[in-house]
Symmetry: C2
Subunit: 333 residues, 2 copies
């Protein structure tokens, strides 16, 4: 940095939905970006716009294997994140969380890199506290069909906290709540991509139960802003924050506290796709489906001076624009 060389960032899961937005932002901020992905759920389509940029390098690599390089900052995003993907091979899902963070923590330790680990609201499971605060310990099944993701992510937090306490690694964590935007996988089975794809294809919009379960929806750019602010903070400030809040490690919720029912989301989606002939229909609720999820973001506000600024309607319109192009390119409507 003193030599005015670009700062170097490593991003794992870089060809995924969030990874691609983070890469774009890091390139805009002048970074040299090394982008790892095993392309299991990520796709080169998400990063094709960066491939010609001399400050961008893509490496086809699985984070369960060690990776070596000299970076100023590491952003660990790699892990299948939607049930349809993470239940495809549950053992590999847990390995990508646990071995992935081990490899990145080891790399950060040996190279003194700063590390941002992306945890998830899923570590709260089916929460008994609402909205969720960082000090809430969660309510998670260890042996259920969602456990591969939830427990892998919980264990990753534990490892990060202990590498920080034991070895002094400068690791920071965000617990990401539902996030959406362009580059979402159209078949990831998540509610926003489902609804938009169904509406664009005039298919029934499926809600589970009566659709009264609530979710918070964070637009991707809001999250990336939080991540970048977090990584710019001096370590002493992060340490003081942990001490002040008696947090065992720096974890902050990042999400949009605006709460919508699944039914409201379906209706909003249909309003933004007025030509759609879709109808809203109900299906049985799947096993272990969390009933309510809403972040308390007081800590992120305090630490990062951050809160989401993009309203659902605006983010949804951008996302619909992306999926429209996707559908019309494929000629699949």
């Amino acid at each position: 940095m003193e030599l005015s060389l670009p700062r170097k960032a490593l991003v794992t899961g870089a060809a995924g939905f969030l990874g691609s937005h983070l890469c774009r932002r890091l390139l805009e901020d002048g970074y040299e970006v090394t982008a790892l992905d095993n392309l299991f759920t990520g796709t080169k389509r998400n990063i094709e716009g960066f491939l010609a940029n001399p400050r961008f390098s893509f490496v086809l690599h699985d984070v369960t294997q060690p990776y070596w390089g000299q970076f100023d900052e590491i952003y660990n995003l790699a892990c299948p994140a939607s049930p349809v993907h993470y239940q495809h091979n549950p053992v590999e899902t847990t390995k990508s969380s646990v071995l992935g963070i081990m490899n990145m923590l080891d790399l950060a330790l040996k190279t003194k890199a700063r590390l941002l680990h992306t945890s998830t609201s899923e570590i709260y499971g089916d929460p008994l506290v609402h909205p969720q605060v960082e000090s809430y310990w969660g309510n998670v099944n260890t042996i259920g069909v969602r456990s591969c993701y939830d427990e892998g992510k919980r264990c990753a937090e534990t490892l990060a906290a202990d590498y920080r306490r034991e070895y002094g690694v400068d690791v920071r964590m965000v617990r990401i709540f539902n996030t959406y935007g362009p580059n979402m996988h159209p078949k990831d089975g998540r509610v926003i991509s489902n609804f938009i794809m169904q509406a664009l294809r005039d298919e029934d919009i499926t809600i589970f139960g009566d659709g009264s379960q609530t979710r918070s929806f964070q637009y991707c750019d809001d999250l990336v802003e939080a991540m970048r602010r977090y990584m710019e903070l001096p370590r002493a400030e992060v340490d003081a924050f942990c001490a002040r809040h008696a947090l065992g490690a720096p974890v902050v919720n990042t999400g949009n506290p605006g709460e919508y029912t699944i039914r409201q989301l379906a209706e909003e989606t249909l309003r933004l796709i007025p030509e759609s002939k879709s109808k809203i229909v109900s299906r049985p609720i799947p096993a272990d489906d969390p009933k309510r999820r809403k972040p308390d973001i007081s800590l992120a506000k305090e630490l990062l001076g951050w809160e989401p600024v993009i309203p659902l309607r605006e983010g949804l319109a951008k996302t619909i624009g992306y999926f429209r192009a996707f559908v019309s390119e494929r000629g699949s409507k």
Copy 2:
């Protein structure tokens, strides 16, 4: 078995407290035993009586590294299990749970061995349900000082459940509640070894808070009996049991539901060491110390036809006998 060859068992953590009792039992039952231990908390003293047995082999090996061999049964016990040990190097504690079970699951998968994994009541954390049933999801901090053990063990359960669901590995799990007996590490910081050592040395017997927190105390031989019965069950019976109880994996609590306060335990210990000059004194409660812990063992009763039969006074007397010999050998009283 049809050739009347001895059945082969692999025991990880074999030189630890429980591992040594299990090895003895397996040898008594006619097994050929391969005993792995990295000797971090285990000690050869615990297994020295078996070293001359031609059906016993000790291998100095760390379960975080793969191990290969052909076995009928694998008993995965390796992991530092008392706070003073598992907090010594938290990162290695988590690795011994998570990488250890991965290695044993991979071995079981490739060799079609039956696998018993020892989980723990610690996966319930500071339980909000009392007594604890297997369907209770627990209340565990992901980033605290005990998390390395709790979350590592939770993640190990998840991996075991998914190797079973995904790859058909015949894995069974016990959630072990407080267990005691000869061969406990005299400095493991656990309450029974602490109290006995303090009483034998005429030191103050330290209780945390007012000593009203309760624990259940299972004698080691009771647990080993449960483990052996579990491994003798045909797979179909275990599968039917899971289906009947809607359990995502075969997990049963093993512990003694008899509940004692810490103060009662201290008093009982002093009664059994009448020559002791020790007094009971109180200290502040440590962070994340679980308040109450008592197993519901209905499932183990149903599946294994098992319940603990050794009363606390009898088990405590045997344990005191062991520690007396230990102290007098060292001449440290």
